[in-house]
Symmetry: C2
């Protein structure tokens, strides 16, 4: 069986962190200079590992194995959150690279075909999982047309500035692949709390999002009597608080919802705000719960609009993602490899976070593997995992890839 090289793996992960490093974290949002530098570096590593590598027209880096036979695709994303951790995405990308190297170095597995990939914009600067959507043929012209980041930068301008405007976009050949494997840090506390080394993912929660808009009348905060105000901020505070009070009544056991972005305009203490925006995101493993959340928001909007004041409207902030089930055959291989490498110190678990495998599972079979996050912290510069856990996860993934392809 193949043997991964832990020192090489960790050295590559640390080099990748150095591109955009801030404190222990990374600032490498999709299409930034640092992101493109990281992608060029990954392309060179794929080539050094014997893969035929390309950066495609949305920034995906794909390294194709020259070996014959049906292939596995292994990887994740190398773009980060605005203030990202160093392992979120990067871990799975470098695992893909290291697994191809380990298989190539073992005479028994060097004939197997593993493609490595770094997907683009999983973190939703312009459009969440843009890279995996594009590879699967799911990234439509409608999605692309008006895409812009939160500062108003257009996707089309970002593609041009990254030098990608004329680069071909790759669509995966379904016949080539058995499926896709993605490893990731857990981004939650469960593995660490239970002293486990590996999580084999059963399903990825679905998620939806709404952008709520509040149209009021900007005016002077001293002379405009309360009774006649159309204060956009007051409507936002009322709706946001009502959502936090009402959602628990329809939520599932592991439902989560977040209103992490609110903008009040013009944003001065002595001006009654004329306009505001609020982003709401909600996740659950059940489509029925996601539907119930959306119905609740509609009802609350109607109730608050009926009071007068600023007018609230709602539109989808993103494409609804259905809950995704991981392939049972792949999961059995991952379980065998986890059992071999950890003894009993692994578990099956759902993924509360969304991942590219949630998109790709609508195109071909997928499976995911988690390693522990220290303190459960993610999307933060403080995100980290222990070196031993990082090495262990890569070995489990290499073993599973070899056994899937060897069947």
């Amino acid at each position: 069986m193949p043997k991964i090289n832990a020192d090489r793996l960790l050295a590559d992960l640390r080099h990748l962190r150095s591109i955009g490093a801030v404190d222990n974290g990374v600032v490498r949002p999709a299409f930034s200079e640092e992101d493109m530098e990281a992608r060029r570096w990954l392309k060179a590593q794929y080539e050094a590992a014997g893969l035929e590598a390309t950066i495609d027209g949305v920034g995906n880096v794909l390294g194709r194995s020259p070996n014959a036979g049906t292939a596995l695709l292994i990887g994740s994303h190398s773009d980060t959150q605005p203030t990202g951790g160093w392992l979120d995405g990067a871990l799975g990308v470098v695992y893909g690279l290291e697994v191809t190297r380990a298989l190539r170095e073992d005479p028994e597995t060097r004939h197997l075909a593993v493609d490595a990939v770094s997907l683009q914009d999983e973190e939703s600067r312009f459009f969440g999982c843009m890279g995996s959507r594009s590879l699967c043929g799911f990234f439509t012209p409608e999605m692309e047309a008006d895409a812009q980041d939160k500062d108003g930068v257009l996707l089309s301008d970002a593609l041009r500035d990254a030098g990608l405007r004329d680069a071909p976009r790759i669509q995966l050949d379904r016949e080539r692949y058995l499926g896709f494997l993605e490893a990731h840090i857990e981004q939650g506390p469960h593995l660490e709390e239970d002293g486990l080394g590996i999580g084999v993912v059963t399903s990825i929660v679905g998620l939806g999002g709404l952008r709520l808009k509040f149209d009021g009348q900007q005016n002077h905060a001293g002379t405009t009597m309360m009774a006649i105000r159309k204060d956009a901020s007051a409507a936002l505070y009322a709706l946001a608080n009502a959502i936090n009070e009402e959602f628990p009544k329809v939520a599932g056991e592991r439902s989560v919802w977040t209103m992490g972005r609110a903008v009040i305009e013009p944003g001065a203490a002595s001006i009654v705000p004329g306009y505001a925006e609020l982003d709401l995101q909600y996740r659950d493993k059940s489509t029925e719960v996601l539907d119930a959340f959306e119905a609740t928001v509609s009802r609350l909007i109607d109730e608050i609009n009926a009071r007068g004041g600023a007018k609230i409207t709602s539109e989808p902030a993103r494409v609804r993602v259905a809950p995704a089930h991981m392939d049972e055959g792949f999961r059995r291989h991952l379980a065998v490899a986890a059992q071999k490498n950890t003894g009993e110190m692994w578990t099956e678990m759902p993924s509360g976070a969304f991942h590219d495998a949630g998109v790709i599972s609508e195109f071909m079979p997928c499976a995911m593997l988690f390693i522990p996050s220290i303190g459960g912290i993610s999307h933060d510069f403080a995100e980290d995992s222990h070196d031993d856990d990082i090495a262990l996860g890569c070995q489990v993934l290499a073993d599973a890839a070899a056994s899937i392809l060897g069947e």
Copy 2:
């Protein structure tokens, strides 16, 4: 009696609008390039009107009359809100200029001493009413030390960039002055609704402000269960909504409160916010109501903090301003002049907005005159008044100034 020149007055107002004009409004915040250009232009106009003019070390433009005798100070502020109207402040500044010219052109009043002033940063970019506070000796080193705008620009850097670091700061000589007269647009709908041309201000409401801070734990919006979150935004929405529900129970008839600035960090839809800030401002003519508002906020903070989650703290966002009463003697002169110029079409009224006269009234007698605002709109590019009302207000102010000084 002096006769103001309406064409000259309107031409000067329109020229002042042209410095920083956007649509029908103006963007001329304190110490911006446009603000300083406007102040240099005003200084030249003061000099052309026979005044000895200076831009002092905080940006106040003061034009001193060379005439003997006790003087009146007349003016307002020429800085604007971030998206300001063209008359807010500017009207009272150009009235001061025009009244000095009209008195100088009339043989019966040319011996009278009127000083004209454009005060700095009434609109609180760095520190509300900084200019009038400084002129009265109320702008302390403590207020100045940490002053910064909402983008984090330090006042000390803004003063340096405006070339004011080494300019002397003027403090008014109390012995020189009878008092201060300030004219302003109403910024509310009452005069227009009642078909009146002039409002003689009886008092200026007091105001206070709090900056509320929410310290939570930034984390991943998918993997962090609701029960263990410390979501800064959730605490903000809860407190802001509770304030809007509880304040009416202790408010006065004309109380107003506003939460026009909220900042959620890091501000992404898929990150549980770790930090947030909310600015609360409240106004009433009664000190007791202002006290009741602050006690209510303290109680609500304690209640929400007791639930766990993000921790809320509160600090004064500005110096509490006590309600200010206008000088009865000055008010009688304004009433006589209003009666003479409008017949019965004037009224006495409180000011819901704060003004520099509210600061200066703690130093010497003050009075204020309002003219109608079209639609009651202010702090907005759409702010406007009719030319006839603008001319009428200036004539009333000139008549009142002449009669006060002629006593």
